[in-house]
Each structure stands twice: as structure tokens, then as C-alpha cells.
């Protein structure tokens, strides 16, 4: 076992320090060290997208990063999307459109779609499908998920206008 190293980063606005083995992925660090279990781990090799978090404003697979590589970064997980018990407009849209079945993939899809709509509030259905091709959902068939993301665009456009 190799020596633990300190990784310091911000998660959902709060500074964290974790003493981790270098081989600890960011996903495992979030779940096991910081107890933020909203981030799910599916395939552990960058195929399923369930572990997607937002690092310095960009969607990344947290199983394809070691926690030590995130040193100094600003991380947002699914827990950071809502304000307390208040669902974000994207989350509310997922509820409205029944875009969740078993829920395992949902955290990764929410973080991915949140960045997409923040950067591209006019994304059309094709663009949303293309981006979400990196997130595997085995329940829904994606139809409700795409509907939910499309419907949430208004909230992001309104944010843009402010």
C-alpha cells in the first residue's frame, strides 16, 4: 500500500481535505471519505456515466480521475444541484416527466444535463441525445429523460437573461 496523500478540493461550496491513497478515484473519495453517496459508481471504467460530477464547471467521469488529480478543483456533485430540500428546475422537470425509474443513472444524467444546459441552453433534442449517449440508462428508454431536459431549458434561458 502506498503512502496516503492529501487532496484538497471544494465540494458543493465546502472546502474538503482527504488523506487518500493515490489509487483512490475521485468517485470513491466522494462516496467513502466524504460520505457523499449521491454519486453512483457503475462500471468503474468510464463507460456508463453514472459517476459524472462537475469539476471546474465541466462534466467529468469521477471514476476516470484519481482524487489526488482533483487537488485544487471546485467539484459539484448531485447533492450540490438542489438548494436544501428545494429541487432545482432540472430535477423538478425530471420528477414532472417521470424521467427516473430505478434511479441509479440519475445523478450522472442530472450533472451532465446541468452543465449542458448551463453552456448550451438552446440545445435541441438531437444535441441532448448526443451528449447523453455517454450515460447509460437501462430502465427508461430515454424518452422521458430527453423530454425532461428539453422542458428544463426555459429555466436556464431565464438564468441567462438575468
Amino acid at each position: 500500500m502506498s503512502q496516503r496523500q492529501i487532496a484538497r478540493f471544494t465540494v458543493n461550496g465546502k472546502a474538503h481535505e482527504a488523506a487518500v491513497e493515490p489509487r483512490t478515484t475521485l468517485a470513491d473519495c466522494l462516496r467513502h471519505d466524504l460520505k457523499l453517496t449521491g454519486t453512483h459508481v457503475g462500471c468503474e471504467h468510464g463507460v456508463c456515466g453514472a459517476c459524472t460530477v462537475i469539476a471546474d464547471g465541466e462534466a467529468v467521469r469521477s471514476c476516470l480521475m484519481f482524487a489526488v488529480q482533483a487537488d485544487g478543483m471546485d467539484i459539484t456533485t448531485v447533492e450540490g444541484l438542489s438548494e436544501g430540500d428545494q429541487l432545482s428546475p432540472l430535477q423538478a422537470s425530471f420528477r414532472k416527466h417521470h424521467a427516473v425509474q430505478c434511479g441509479f443513472c440519475t445523478a450522472g444524467i442530472l450533472t451532465t444535463a446541468h452543465v449542458l444546459l448551463t453552456e448550451e441552453p438552446d440545445a435541441d433534442a438531437d444535441r441532448i441525445r448526443e451528449v447523453l449517449s455517454g450515460n447509460i440508462c437501462r430502465c427508461t428508454g430515454y424518452v422521458q429523460i430527453i423530454d425532461a431536459v428539453l422542458d428544463a431549458r426555459a429555466a436556464y434561458k431565464a438564468k441567462d437573461a438575468r
Binding site: R23, E58, R61, G134
Partner: protein, 291 residues
């Protein structure tokens, strides 16, 4: 699965990275974006003693365009290329090929240098490097050397990089205005590795095609140039007959092995169709206009 234990170092300057690799290169792996290496670590296909993270060496992130061509720093990410408006004009083929690389989240971390060093035979960037006669600049304890892409890839996931070396940048020759080009690939799911892909371009003189360059990915141990296809294009006006001849030449040029993803014959037939589509699309009116 979890990676085996390793020690992690993150040099902040190129010289420090090379100094470390000079001493420990045999037991070390260089990590940039990690989008190919981390899965290999997770599967324990590789278990280095040291992981050398070059991700914070900012000088390797540069993208420069001048009369001599394009220089992409090793740490330039797919996202950086996709969003660089100047590159869309300076090298439309590069940008189109890069649009096919992986999924959204991976595009935010994956790098040009990482893709070249990983050398997946189906990857787009090595294919573009081969097709465009790129030069790959590597640095090691003896200084820098410039390696033509044609001499860089030696087999699947294998290159001429020495244990003390890392990729600094890739240089693409400048793009002639009015050039005709196309990139086509087929993957079962958008963003997955292609079962076959083709990049081609040519210039036009007196209505005839000349200086054609054609390269393919996913059909051999390394990305390959297809000189027989280039020969069918050069000196001709691009007609249905020429397009068919190019497709047939592509089919005859390769002999991919069977693997779990597809039988070799399927990849070969796919390459033929993709070649026809690419040439046909390159010949469309307006294709050579630089937008």
C-alpha cells in the same frame, strides 16, 4: 475494479517530468487526461510503480496556428479543439474528426498527446496524424526529437516512445485553402470506438484532383495510409466511377483480423462504403470553401 497501488507525482514543469522519467521511466506511466489510462489501471492491464501526472504543466496546453501549420500541445483536449473557432478555419478535417472522439464527459479530459501515446488503432487522432503527415515532438533526457507520424505507431497500443520520453506537441502541416476533405466513421454507439473510419483530402488543379491523402482507422494494428486509394483519386475528376474505384482500392488495401467487435470481412466492407461516402462528400459543391 480498483487500480493497484502506485505512487503519484505531479511535476509542475516539463524538465522535472523528464528528470523523473529519466530515473524511473521503466517503472512509470505518464498520465495526462487519463481517459484511456485509468480504465487500463482499473483493469490492472498495467500496474506501474509511479504515475507521473503532467496535467498541470501549462506550457503543454498551447494551441498555435501560423503559416507553418498547426501546433497542438500534448495537453490540448478534445473540448479545446472543438471550441477553437480559428481551428475550424485552419484545419476543418481535424475538427470534424475530433467531433467523433468519445463522449461528452471524456471530451472534457481526454488529450491529443494521450491519444497519440495510447495508440489505439481505432482512435481518430492517430488516424489524422497519419493522414496529414503530422510530426510528433517528444522530449526526453537527450532533448527533443521530431518523429514523423508514419514512424511513430508500431502496433496496437505501442509506439516508439522511450521510457524517458513524453509527447510535447503534434504539428500538422498548414491547410491549403480550397482543399476538399471528408471524415467518415461508423461506431455502434455514437462516441464509441469506430469499427472503421476514413479521413481523406485532396487539392484541385484544372478541375482534377491532386495530392490526395487517405488514411484509415480500425482496420489494422495501427492507423494506416492507403496509397492505392490515393492513386485512384489523383489526376481525376471525381465521378461515380472514380468513387467506386476508390472504394474497391480501400477494400483491397486492408485485411483486418476478426475480433469480438466485428469479423474482419465486415470491417473491410465497411471501409469500402465509408471510402465511397467520404469521397462523394468531399466532391460535393462548396465542400472546399473555407467557412
Amino acid at each position: 475494479m480498483k487500480a493497484a497501488s502506485f505512487e503519484y507525482v505531479r511535476p509542475d514543469r516539463l524538465e522535472r517530468a523528464i528528470a523523473f522519467l529519466t530515473e524511473h521511466g521503466d517503472e512509470a506511466k505518464v498520465i495526462a487526461g487519463g481517459q484511456s489510462l485509468v480504465p487500463m489501471l482499473a483493469f490492472r492491464l498495467t500496474a506501474p510503480r509511479f504515475l507521473v501526472d503532467i496535467g498541470r504543466i501549462s506550457e503543454l496546453r498551447r494551441v498555435a496556428i501560423d503559416a507553418g501549420g498547426i501546433r497542438l500541445g500534448a495537453l490540448a483536449r478534445w473540448r479545446d479543439i472543438e471550441r477553437n473557432e480559428e481551428l475550424h478555419r485552419a484545419h476543418p478535417l481535424l475538427v470534424e474528426a475530433i467531433r467523433h472522439v468519445a463522449h461528452y464527459q471524456i471530451r472534457n479530459r481526454g488529450t491529443v498527446g494521450g491519444s497519440l501515446a495510447h495508440a489505439d488503432p481505432a482512435a481518430e487522432m492517430p488516424g489524422i496524424a497519419i493522414t496529414c503527415e503530422a510530426k510528433i515532438v517528444v522530449a526526453g533526457r537527450q532533448g527533443q526529437r521530431v518523429i514523423p507520424a508514419a514512424n511513430f505507431f508500431t502496433g496496437p497500443l505501442t509506439t516508439v516512445l522511450q521510457p524517458d520520453e513524453l509527447i510535447v506537441e503534434v504539428r500538422l502541416p498548414s491547410w491549403r485553402s480550397g482543399r476538399r476533405w471528408a471524415f467518415e466513421e461508423f461506431a455502434r454507439r455514437r462516441g464509441d470506438f469506430a469499427l472503421a473510419g476514413i479521413a481523406l483530402f485532396y487539392d484541385t488543379e484544372n478541375g482534377k484532383a491532386c495530392d490526395a491523402r487517405v488514411g484509415a482507422v480500425g482496420v489494422a494494428d495501427t492507423p494506416v495510409r492507403l496509397p492505392a486509394v490515393e492513386a485512384t483519386i489523383n489526376g481525376n475528376t471525381i465521378t461515380e466511377n472514380v468513387i467506386c474505384a476508390a472504394g474497391a482500392a480501400a477494400f483491397d488495401s486492408v485485411d483486418p483480423p476478426d475480433d469480438i467487435h466485428a469479423p474482419g470481412d465486415y470491417r473491410r466492407a465497411l471501409l469500402q462504403v465509408l471510402t465511397e461516402r467520404a469521397l462523394s462528400s468531399a466532391a460535393q459543391p462548396g465542400r472546399g470553401d473555407n467557412v
